[in-house]
Symmetry: C2
Subunit: 166 residues, 2 copies
């Protein structure tokens, strides 16, 4: 008989459910804004934002781009295809590794992100940060950041094959 783990303590349950509900509602709110103002899904926004805002060169390899955003390779190919069709990114074979594809934001992609960002920020501010103090905001970030690192480093035990990198 496999022994049953102790149930989650009420504090844990509360934190877990709050986290999931907050993230769910926030994602839903943000998704609407992105759809209305930029005709983008949240996933597309994430990919685009990562390229336009996070990446110095404005480009990344497909595989690196996927991390934490999309959970299958075909899903990324699909989304990249949509973004490319919309003229927001371009794909080209990587110079160093002929197997890889480099994805690059176009000027139109940058413009779209900039058009969409103010409304996005407003939604996040109103929905997520309004009830938090500045100290609370900082505390939240400081609590979640190690969790994020932990989850990135420790894929679920069932993470079939292709999940390591870096």
């Amino acid at each position: 008989m496999p022994d049953t783990p102790p149930p989650l303590a009420p504090v844990e349950l509360g934190a877990y459910f709050s986290l999931m509900e907050v993230a769910g509602l926030l994602r839903h709110a943000v998704e609407q804004q992105l759809r209305e103002e930029g005709d983008l899904s949240y996933v597309q926004f994430q990919l685009l934002a990562r390229l336009a805002l996070d990446s110095p060169s404005g480009s990344e390899r497909m595989t690196d781009l996927a991390d934490g955003v999309v959970y299958s390779r075909s899903g990324l190919t699909y989304q990249a295809g949509l973004l490319e069709k919309a003229g927001l990114v371009e794909r080209a074979p990587s110079p160093d590794d002929e197997r890889s594809v480099t994805v690059m934001v176009t000027a139109a992609g940058r413009a779209l992100i900039e058009r969409v960002l103010p409304g996005h920020v407003e939604v996040v501010r109103h929905q997520l940060f309004a009830p938090l103090s500045e100290a609370g905001t900082r505390a939240l970030g400081e609590l979640l950041s190690p969790v994020r690192e932990h989850m990135r480093a420790a894929p679920p035990r069932s993470a079939g094959a292709r999940r390591r990198r870096r």
Copy 2:
């Protein structure tokens, strides 16, 4: 020219992105576990768990059941239909209001939740709580709980019509 809101401060951005990524990865991990051990989607698990664990009578009106889990009425009908087909819930017209439908967990539904819960708890513990201290866990819950209330009370301005209740 509509004036642009100030951009999010780095602390805010960090908290926002961490929150979304943590919730996304956690949901993905948990979804796998539920699929493997109970053939349930996360939404189905939420609905079932709400009935089996949260509701004293094991039953709720459709509309109340939906809150925070599903964002359209047809979506709930669809999920409730799946759960009913699987014998996990039963639907019956509400006694007091003939328009309403009462959804009730069956014994099989309760059994499934109990079968699936230990693994679920393990995933949440390993993925979310492992890197947090007890104080950190409590702090996280205390930070997110008011946000949750805030978001429940203040639907996104564009929340077309049918979103109030209680």
